[in-house]
Amino acid sequence: MKKSYKLLLFIFLISSYVSYAQESTNPIAVTDSTKKDTLNYYDMTIEQLLSLKAHGVPSELEKLINSLISVASKKPLNVRESPSIVTLVTAEEIKNSGARDLIDVLRLVPGVDFGVDVQGVVGIGMRGNWAHEGKVLILLDGQEMNEILYATTQFGNHFPIDQIKKIEIIRGPGSAIYGGYAEYGVINIITKQGGDINGVAISGIYGQTEKDYMRRNINLSAGKKLGDFEWSVSGMIGQGQRSDQNYTDVHGNSYSMIGNSALNPAFANIGVSYKGLSFRAIGDFYHTSTQDGYDAIYPKPYTQNFNSMYFELKYLWKVSNKLTITPKLNYKNQSPWKTPQGDSIDPSYLKTATRSTANITASYNPTRKINVVFGGEYYRDMAVDKLPGDTFYNGKQSVSFYNYAFFVQGLIKTRFVNIILGARYDKHNVYGDAFVPRVGLTKKFNRFHFKALYSNSFRAPAIENIDYSGANGIHPERTQVGELELGYQITHNSIFTVNFFDISTKNPIIYYTVGAGTDAYTNQGRTGTYGLEAEYRMKEKWGYISVNYSFYSAAGTQKSAAYRVAQDSSMLLGFASHKVNLNASINILKNLSLNPSGTFYGPRWGYNSVDTSGVAQLHKFSPVILFNLFLKYNTPITGLSIGVGVYDLFNQQFVFIQPYAQPGSVTNLPHAPLPGPPREFIFRLSYNFNFKAKTTN
């Protein structure tokens, strides 16, 4: 471990020196270019005025921090004034890092972490809080990826990261816009559309550990923009494994995950648009296998599939320069956690759920300084249990719910501050209503910016939460979040931001068992964290570097027993209080870059065994450094790039810890930590063939 620290420190110092040396030489370069510029600058054509920026020729970093995003407000605003704590991840950063899947990408984001749920599934955490079941909304090209039976999203060799154009991440609440799955955060994945692809792109990854392959995936995309018409078709198919390690359950029984922890994705995404009208269809067939049940392993592996289809028809109607109305219809059909009959040791689970949604949103700009977004949404959920003899809580093999919502948001921009006020009201026919207002103040003053945000948010109980809620019923859990961000752009090429947050959740929806192990959900107690996240980003000609630090504490907060660490009141189960990320890219040669990335995790707590009386025992896991290196080479063949690298160079063999439990129970025992991939060598290849640009005379 000490060696790991020293090596990291050495790399930091080297990159610091390189950056310092570059900065030191910059004044000469600036002076020279200024002189040259002055000769021609005022001879620019009038059309060239269109490219001028108020703060000069933007650096690559400035292009990034001034780029407009709409995830936090629907109305496009630049990153520094967007009314949420936001991280923007670009395709360039993903490609350079050699990231294997979304876990690798999101792990580098402050506050984001991962833990194990059950049956080999890995889910997301946010700022120390377990957020797997319906607390972080995952959007892919506007489609809600969370399955609607439990509201989970499964991570690990699942989504086609090679097709991502950018990811906009809200590291805080988003319910006032997005409703009941956005209590703690929103991850908005935007893939490359026809105009971005403009041809055909093919890419592949192969990952190998010392014992076995970890992934072999192929991506294929094609697309084109022809005037007002744009189309794209993309797909990914592959095979992967969670780990090549042995999994040991809390009782001490083990199995090898080689061949028994499949993560096989098959993903297709079609988008067509003409003027304001657009259609999208996504198929997501994520087939896994595992040998672990909840607490105990099974004698042989079983399959567990997550199948989803998404459809959207949308029309962006520009009524006038000031008013836009967007009606939208969505339909999704999902069969998650599917363990077929005859193939299963685990009790079979064959439920299908559909959601049909109608949404209409209006955006009105009476002046450039004022924007009002308002609208309504209605959705209907239906679920069918296909196992003979199985029923829902109503005694039938199907259930149906509906929900309607209204939302409004006002944005006023003044010289001193941007004010955002918003609220959303949801009414569900079973669990009742939720009203979530929010207020935000943001502004940038040249180099400095600030954001002061206060939001209410909620988690909507999913179908199975209702199904297993028993006589007490279930209600939305409600959260209040206060956030303050301060940022300072130190140079053209570097920026430092820090934010503070305080999250308080009332009546979280907790999983537990009754009797001899019957599943149940209830609202219980409180939970929450407070902390800070700091980030430094630099982007120079030689490359870029990003370092961030996340800290959370639960000290002094009321904690539900499900998340509590008895030995350390400042921590919650599963997640480290301290996390440091590094993500860098250094251009060694014109076409060759070295890309180090890594994560330091402080100590974590989790259950990993039971004592002689059968009660689960907490264990403190040592700090971990995951360090990765990726070498990317753009070959002389246009469009062809290759890369080789290693993930988890120091072979720390990271484990995903379960961030919740039912302490003291001898029937509802926790899932032991799930091994992730150990040191993995990867090889990447990608080729982009661009269609010829249409020549105009």
Binding site: E23, Y41, Y42, I46, L50, L52, A54, G56, V580
Partner: protein, 168 residues
């Protein structure tokens, strides 16, 4: 480690970050001169640009005046502290610090062939003929008050109009 890194990379580096680029503002002003037409009487002799109030643009405009001419005419930059001193100017640049005087300026310059350019956003709605706007993505644009331009006996080219935002 983070602090060490920040120290080496940030604090020691030259702080040349996102301050307002008055050179870009100057280029716009130069194009305003080129694409706005003054009455015959004001189209001869030196072209006088007056800056009302303190603004960093003065240095850039002085640089422009020393290196460029406007259709063969010398460009003269004057700094004025009272609106009355604007009588001989073709272009009056109202600095952000003097934005509060825009209504008085409008009344005082009523009908005179002077192009009033506001440094601060929103002035074109209050009496200036043109005023700068910084868009959300940092693009530099300008608002155009066509009524005021006509009242001041000036003509603005369609090319310039196509680049700006007409506010009335």
């Amino acid at each position: 480690m983070l602090l060490l890194f920040l120290f080496l990379n940030g604090v020691s580096a030259k702080c040349v970050a996102q301050d307002v680029d008055y050179k870009a503002y100057t280029l716009f002003v130069y194009n305003f001169m080129k694409y706005v037409e003054w009455p015959e009487a004001q189209s001869k002799g030196d072209f006088v640009v007056c800056i009302f109030g303190e603004s960093p643009i003065q240095k850039e405009l002085a640089g422009l005046a020393s290196s460029k001419k406007l259709k063969g005419r010398n460009i003269i930059i004057k700094n004025i502290s009272k609106p009355e001193d604007a009588a001989g100017c073709q272009l009056l640049y109202v600095s952000a610090s003097k934005s509060g005087n825009i209504k008085a300026l409008k009344d005082q310059m009523m009908g005179k062939p002077i192009l009033i350019v506001g440094e601060r956003e929103g002035l074109a709605k209050k009496g200036a003929e043109l005023s700068f706007v910084t868009m959300d993505d940092d693009e530099l644009k300008f608002d155009i008050n066509k009524k005021e331009i006509e009242q001041h006996q000036l003509k603005i080219s369609s090319q310039l109009i196509s680049l700006g935002i007409v506010v009335n």
